[in-house]
């Protein structure tokens, strides 16, 4: 067995414009750059986590135009012009988003590494299904893995937010 290949050719640069957490950002990047890499390494938004770097765990989840995506397997260039929300931009005016508050209240957090992705997927779920049933929650959230076992409490947190909205 023999490995060893020539280095890849230097690629050109592309301009990517994104609205990240409400602020317009324009960057020159290698076209192979993922959205996760831009967020973490260029914009210092480290809330989205690299858990697997291949779209298996969901720790890198961010909202693009309101929908949850795995930013680790998303090329930034294809979303030029899009609106990106990361965990850092979820709260408004220094206040926590109701889902963030519910996660704290329900203790839906252990090590916290998957938490930003979980919170964003949960927010997107309630946008689609304001009153989700158990199987809708399970299906919508199954792309976000947690090894500490916070699942039952994340479900509680989601249900708590849904109930509070219903009352309003």
């Amino acid at each position: 067995m023999r490995s060893g290949t020539r280095p890849p050719r230097a690629a050109g640069r592309v301009r990517v414009s994104l609205t990240v957490n409400g602020a317009r950002r324009s960057l020159d990047v290698d076209p192979r750059t993922t959205l996760l890499e831009i967020l973490r390494e260029r914009l210092a938004l480290t809330g989205a986590k690299p858990g697997c770097d291949r779209g298996e765990c969901g720790a890198c989840t961010v909202l693009v135009n309101g929908r949850p995506i795995y930013s680790c397997v998303t090329l930034a260039a294809i979303w030029s012009g899009a609106r990106v929300t990361t965990i850092e931009g979820l709260g408004r005016g220094g206040r926590l988003h109701p889902m963030q508050r519910a996660f704290i209240e329900a203790d839906a957090v252990q090590c916290g590494f998957c938490t930003p992705g979980q919170v964003l997927s949960a927010v997107a779920l309630l946008d689609r299904h304001p009153r989700p049933n158990a199987s809708q929650i399970a299906e919508a959230m199954s792309g976000n893995l947690c090894r500490c076992g916070t699942y039952p409490k994340i479900v509680r947190a989601i249900q708590r937010v849904a109930r509070r909205r219903k009352r309003k």
């Binding site: 770097d53 298996e56 765990c57 926590l96 916290g112 994340i154």
Partner: protein
Amino acid sequence: MTAREGHGPPRFVVTTVEVEGREEETVVEIPAFEPVPWSPRARHDLVGKPVHRVDGEAKVTGGAIYTADVQLPQMLHARLLRAPIARGNASGLDVSAARAIPGVHAVITGRDIPNISWLHGAPLLGTRVLYPGQPVAAVAAETLGAADAAIRAIVVRWSSRAHTVGVTTTDRKGRSPGAPAHPVTQRQQRGNVRRAIERAPVVVTQTYRVAPVVHQALEPHGTVAWWQGDRLTVYESTQGIFRVRRQLADYLGLATSQIRVISGYMGGGFGAKNGCGSHTLLAALLSRKTRRPIRLVLDRSEECLDTGHRPEMVMTVSVATGRDGLLRALDFEAWVALGADGWIGSPGQLLHRLYDCPNVRTVETFYYTNSGPMSAFRAPYYVEAAFALESAMDLAARRLKMDPVEFRALNLARSDQERNRPFSTNELPACLADVRRRIGWGDGDRGHPAQGRVRRGWGVAVQIWGAAGGPPAYAEVRVNRDGTALVVTGTQDLGTGTRTILAQIAAEVLGLALEDVRVVLGDTDAGPYAGNSWGSMTTASVGPAVRMAAEDARRQLCEVAAALLGVSADRLTMRRGRIRVGGGRKSVTIERVTEHLGNIMVVGRGHRGPNPQSVTVISVGAQAAEVEVDLDTGVVRVVRVVAAHGCGRAINPELAESQLHGGIIQGLGYALFERRVQDPDAGSVLNAGLHDYKIPTFADVPAIDARVISAGDPMANHIGVKGLAEPPIIPTAPAIANALFNALGRQPTELPLTPARILALVKKGRKFRR
């Protein structure tokens, strides 16, 4: 009064500390004063209350900084070249093309680094390969992309040699080609097992197998290393900052004081992050070479290859009883496929401890194989042994025509039979009764209801775990001028909630609000020593040290307050931010006392005293599972898990429940899905990722009703706590397997319980109780 009392008692004693089921002796300083133990049902303002995590907001906002988030000036990114073969050699290493890639600052092989004795004496980055994924070279570059390109550009010739994978009959005879070292066998016996089995009227014997499984913490292992002058700073995702520091010092020939290890937030460890890894050392070496900070974070496949696993095991258990159902003998033999290296624990300990039994023999053989090194994984060896023992207990119960709960209740250990001493407290009978009541065991038709091709079954299993914690562990409580407090200790929070629990303890003693106490941990330059967060030891080890430090600070504050109020200090109580005289009106705020002191600082110091030597401290639990199994597809669905655990005082019942959920859900993955597959012929790992290696997801989680039912254990330590983090994973898999036994009438003997295995069981056993 003897002459000695006048000079005070001796300052140091030897005490026993149990780590992951193994006892170690340690010399410990006797505390200058030992706080009076909190009584078992003492009512507190904060301790025992389900307060929210103090770091919850940091974690839900992205404010919690993990190792991979650390960004330092001029930081470089590193990657490793890992062997694609299970055993053999790397030759003709040529790194010139890799070094020529723009942005690459360093490429190192074994030739470029000092000789560091790593695996069975072989050097780090050696060319002799003992397992797939073994690191052979390392690269540092301006970007990850350049580092990856450099790794691909390294020329190397791999030559494979015969390798050995897993536990096979060939291994048992000691013939295992390529094994990195000779097998190790451990034996332990009390009584005479052979004779007891010969004379027992009821004997069942069965062989069980469990697959190797991977920790899969969501945060991969990672290091950011920065060499400045002759000092090294290491950010590491670890369960033991002081252990990493000592290991780094040993490997690199440095003084421990030259090294600072920081683990602020870490994304789960489960035993895989107990020490310095090859990645830690290589990041440090690359930083020394480049004089730049290095970030080296493993990817998911590296996590699956070279960060540890729970080993594959084959276990044969014999259970011998009288006709009355009383245990007469337990005989256990285990064959463990350790990996290229690993920690030799003892699965047999579960059999020596869990049940009252006069004759117990355990024989354990550990084989070295060509897989990544094994490391402890949440209740290491107890989880594996519990599947075998608790399955065999159900087999015996069936032979005896006894109810599995009653059979267990009859035989639970009443004392520590190995050390011949009582337990401090033992909540296991109460746990078992509680689980039986809450799941409705015995009410109606257990196991019978069947709807067409779906069958339902119930199963139970119990657990024991040495959970005393122990010394050494130190803490400091500094009272700030504004009347708030800072707890400083060298422990770490893996996500279990250590920060919160320590804040609760200090705030309770000082009569402060929780938000007025901050906890600093995870930094060897800040905190006084605390041990690894392993063995479910942290709360029971560090908690008492923090209480003692807070009591020390409290005593000092009271002395000042006594002078201010013109009363004697022993009449004062501290609560809700005030120091009060007896129950009366006369009081002063803590802030007023600290303002009065000005910049004179109150610093309380505490440390963990010795463990009690006349009792054994255990943490126990019982779990019952209800499952549904589809006879056509073999798919198992766990419907419900009911759990009751005894761990002394739960400082925070909400966090304790989260620990129970975590253990149960990991145990469910172990029971149903998880298995690292290593091709026996090619030697490569076939499912090194989270797609082909399935951990439980939202869709797999059953209804879980889990609680801690115990009160404080005043004999264990003065805060009455025992370990909890590991125990709840122990009974889950056997409870599920026993529920399937109940549903199918045949016992599953191999984990994971894949549909193919279930269908094979269904095919074999058509005798359903109808």
